[in-house]
Symmetry: C2
Subunit: 661 residues, 2 copies
């Protein structure tokens, strides 16, 4: 392994200070101006005040259909005493927008004019400029139409055209090079072998940059070769306003970047005490040093250079997607604001209560992504899984909560400040569903969005029992549950009655579904019963405690007289049916307990052993309110039943039925 360069982890606050100082020192400010046509102006930022080159209107215009007159000729006209004006020397018919004929300074509306032979009779006097739009009423030539530092919107383009401006000076789009690195990284669409990872970070970063008005250029993936990386950075520094290098996750990818930067410029920060996002590198790269060192390719890019600072910002972005996103938000966004001469992104905030404990090790500031939904008038933040590598947590996140470096975490029910990641969130009516996992919840989400745009399902999987607890404590609208009562063989009712008053909760049937053993395709080990799980050497993948499937398994093992301690893998727990299926499919386990649909989805063998009732527990008083009213409506559609049937292993005869617990 290569020698690791020395580094000191700094706090986030210190990193921001050092970064701003470095950017100040390098003179990083607004990008140079360029002149563009009005037709390309939308979304660009004005580089100087734009002044009208023509008045609007550029002539005295009629603002009504009627006759143009000299106001002085109309004095005294009234219904009682109409006046007559000669056509055309005293009165001329005009339409809205027509130029006033010479010597005319007002328009009498059609309604107040009667046409005679060579005359008109008018029944109202007008003051000068009545019913006209005098020249310059909207814009006077030389007047400022748009100030400097303004993002040009469609109305601004209209104003430019109205003011006779066909080209305007705007800030050149900031150019950012995005360089993915790592010998293990392969492009999207590649059949990646084990140990290889597909490059999505460069698309993530480029997308974010373009969304915020930059021009991002994705470089080809640079392998773990110091010379190649050095060359890529040097080329990028010459061509762009800043360089972002995305480290692969491997040791080589991670280490060469700081080394190359140290040679080509200056490392300002290497490591920040945040989680995720710690291995970020911030610095400056000397673009002229790069030019002189790489003369061969200089000629063809000469035209792209302009009055930019010689030292250009450099960001070493961690390879894990959540880390990359946080790095972008913390260090790249302020850079974009500088280039565009605009204030930084506005953070919209809200306060919400946390639905569960989130322990956090002291020493690092932690960023926790959450889903948000209002339950009974209270905004609830449901923490998402925290792995830096979980791109799905970015997809699901509505907001972000910061845990300070000295805190040990968040406690359930604590009110926290939350930065919104989806600005339009509060238009959306979110059905928070917590509890047992079922594949139908994703279908519900899509169908709800289709039937009632603006509504959605946000589900988290904590198991049936924890779901009922969350329902009781007001952290969700519905709890997915399938808990077998061994006494009665009944599902759910007994558990609900233990936690709630009679009638307080209702149970909505999603479906009956087949539970059983998920096994390798063709069931090579010939597993057939619960008792077979005790077979020596067989490796199980289990669900977490409190999951309905776990309750079922424990019940059946007791009935079959199997000691769970004897089962290899009994303590290996995952949280969803698909995770169980994935473990079996990958060969990490020989068998798992779960629903037929998950086995079918992954092409596994399946041994059906039980039919169970999967229900949503909801507060009875909320049944007719949104979001539950629409949710239940969707549940009862043919589209939902059909989709569930297609998954396999579901009986939808009672889908949508409601019983009071």
């Amino acid at each position: 392994m290569p020698r690791k360069p020395k580094r000191t982890i700094v706090s986030l606050k210190r990193a921001h200070e050092l970064w701003q100082q470095a950017l100040d020192g390098a003179g990083v400010g607004v990008t140079p101006p360029e002149t563009i046509s009005f037709a390309q102006a939308q979304g660009r930022v004005t580089a100087a005040a734009v002044r009208a080159q023509r008045s609007s209107p550029h002539y005295h215009a009629a603002a009504m259909d009627g006759v143009a007159v000299a106001a002085a000729d109309t004095i005294g006209a009234s219904e009682a005493g109409p006046k007559r004006l000669r056509i055309p020397d005293q009165a001329e018919y005009v339409n809205t927008g027509d130029a006033l004929p010479d010597g005319r300074d007002a328009v009498i509306k059609t309604e107040d004019v009667a046409r005679l032979k060579d005359e008109v009779e008018i029944t109202a006097a007008v003051a000068p400029w009545d019913n006209t739009r005098p020249e310059g009423e909207d814009v006077v030539v030389t007047e400022v139409i748009l100030p400097e530092g303004r993002v040009i919107r469609p109305v601004d383009v209209a104003a430019l055209i109205a003011g006779g401006v066909t080209a305007a000076a705007v800030r050149r789009k900031p150019r950012v090079a995005v360089i993915p690195t790592g010998s293990e990284v392969v492009p999207p669409g590649t059949a990646a072998a084990p140990g290889q990872v597909v490059d999505f970070d460069s698309y993530l970063l480029a997308g974010l940059l373009e969304e915020r008005g930059c021009e991002a250029t994705r470089w080809d993936i640079v392998p773990d070769d110091p010379a190649a990386l050095w060359q890529a950075i040097a080329d990028a520094a010459r061509q762009c306003d800043a360089v972002a290098v995305i480290a692969g996750a491997s040791a080589g990818s991670r280490d060469y970047t700081a080394q190359a930067l140290a040679e080509l410029g200056e490392v300002v920060v290497h490591g920040v005490a945040i989680r995720p996002g710690k291995p970020v590198i911030l610095g400056l790269v000397n673009s002229s040093a790069a030019v002189s060192a790489a003369k061969d390719s200089a000629a063809q890019t000469e035209d792209k250079r302009d009055a930019c600072p010689a030292m250009k910002p450099f960001v070493g972005v961690p390879g894990y997607p959540v880390s990359a996103m946080i790095c972008f938000e913390q260090f790249v966004e302020p850079l974009i604001a500088r280039w565009r001469g605009l204030p930084g992104r506005v953070e919209r905030r809200c306060r919400a209560v946390v639905s569960r404990d989130v322990p956090s090790a002291a020493g690092s500031e932690e960023f926790v992504r959450v889903r948000l939904g209002a339950v009974g008038g209270r905004l609830v933040a449901v923490p998402l899984a925290r792995g830096a590598g979980l791109v799905t947590s970015l997809v699901r996140a509505d907001g972000m909560v910061r845990i300070p470096a000295l805190s040990e975490g968040l406690a359930q029910g604590e009110e926290v400040e939350c930065t919104l990641l989806t600005p339009d969130l509060f238009s959306e009516l979110t059905a928070l569903i917590t509890g047992s996992h079922d594949l139908s919840l994703d279908i519900l989400d899509s169908l709800l969005r289709r039937m009632a745009p603006g509504m959605r399902v946000a589900s988290t999987h904590v198991g049936s029992q924890a779901g009922l607890g969350a329902l009781r404590d007001g952290y969700c609208h519905a709890a997915g549950t399938h808990l077998l009562d061994p006494e009665t063989g009944e599902y759910n009712l007994a558990y609900v009655r233990r936690l709630f008053k009679p009638g307080e909760v209702s149970l909505v049937t999603v479906a009956l579904r087949q539970q059983g053993l998920m096994v390798a395709p063709g069931n090579p080990l010939r597993l057939a019963t619960w008792a077979d799980l005790a077979r020596p050497g067989l490796r199980l993948i289990n669900r977490q405690r409190g999951a309905g499937t776990r309750v079922l398994l424990d019940h059946e093992l007791r009935r079959a007289g199997v000691d769970s301690a004897r089962i290899e893998g009994y303590r290996r727990e995952v949280y969803t049916h698909l995770a169980v299926a994935a473990a079996v499919r990958s060969g990490a386990a020989d068998v798992g307990i779960g629903i037929a649909a998950a086995a079918q989805a992954l092409g596994l063998g399946f041994v059906p052993l039980a039919m169970e009732r999967y229900e949503l527990a909801v507060m009875s008083k909320s049944l007719d309110e949104e979001p539950l009213a629409s949710l239940i409506e969707v549940l009862r559609t043919q589209d939902f039943r059909r989709a569930l049937t297609d998954l396999g292993g579901y009986d939808v005869a009672e889908t949508g039925a409601v019983r009071v617990a």
Copy 2:
């Protein structure tokens, strides 16, 4: 003039109902799906749930640098009792991201491993899957990555790639034809003659449509020719999902549209009781009728047709820009939401107090655009000029206030609900300046935005005296004032002391500036003194009562013994120096009173007659607070003085000086 088709004006509410019914009846819903590459997906809307085609990770991966082991081999290892494992059969060095070798199910971190010759010594035991990322940890193959009806953001693109999805079904972009009409309408960049107007509406509409995810096609301008208009609509209906025809302002342009629609489809609404925006037309156009009637051009567009309703939405957009904008917001936005299967645009609202009376005729719902700024913790809405033709009012607007049809308007100080048009407004610190107009205020705005991104000046011109009143009543941060006290020859102090307690207000000098007569270039009428204004036949353009310039004029006329009633045009009032200059330049007046800079800007002759002090009156207690602190800082920069000097007629020696009144 052509016969006007009969029409019934309906209320806005009724228009919305009829429009929704018509769209329902025509089956206007989401656009058909199309498959696109992940690289083009950003900003598009998923047309179906997107499922992972590969798990992520797609193999069991090391999540740390260290040695991969079988967890079972490590049981019992500790600092006190280290264990040794053979390389490579029991332990293999791996980097983060590497695939776990067969038979290994955990990683021991580098820190807990000491390398010996053919062995490693480990000082910690690990559980299965410790320090690993099991296959499918993030996404399991077949799992839903994105639901239907979701706008794809950069993180979603990353998730698609991670899930092995290279192409996804998204809603086809809605295609809208934008057809400008009117024989008087000419394209941008044309040297428009009097009576001609430049087409900016089609760019406004196309820009708005594209900003909201549509594909807008601008048609060439169609002259006032029924056959040409008919053909354009028929072509557009065949090629696009909807047709928007922008009426020119002239009678011909306005009338042919409804007629053509009646022939090609159905007029649903013609005229809505809103102001601005009344002449809107809503309806449906039959695209297949259009096809059969226009066979000649059908072949080349055949490929563009797909499963769309035969009756397509049609919007007749009024020609005035403010009307066009309101028509877009009210009737086109809901259509876009239908096509995209998303909820309508979220209206952000705030409450603000109105800075002045806004009378409104009962019978129509009125939309008043306002600027917004916080003064002393209270949000103030400053109503903008209301002309439907004022595109600059759209540029300046931060929000919109609706006046119900039965109301007679808004009263100063009334609290109103306001829809925000600039979502990020509250990041911006706005300096509201009201009172006398000076060209320097626009320069201040640009320089403030440059020096302090996020800050801006919003100025309205009501005259010096009204400005001081607004300052007293808390409707602005600063009042531009230049009021001569005839007793003392002093500026501003006497007026301020009449309205405020001693010390309560401070006066910040912007500049001394030259006032005088604006005349035609070369001063052909040889005007030289205030007394010359009484010359018979001379036409004046005056400023409004309460304006400092008007006070000066009245004072000087009294001194010169001139009876203002004898001056032609004395009652013709405009609100800004540039408006005065524009009137003189256009020949609408022979002379106006105003500042040298305005005369110079428009290339007029100028007769200097007085040097006056233009100051900003501010509350003394707010001097050191934002936004005034930064505003005064900008005032004191060399850039500001230089820009003012360049305008001409300013003395900047005392610029930035503060005196307590």
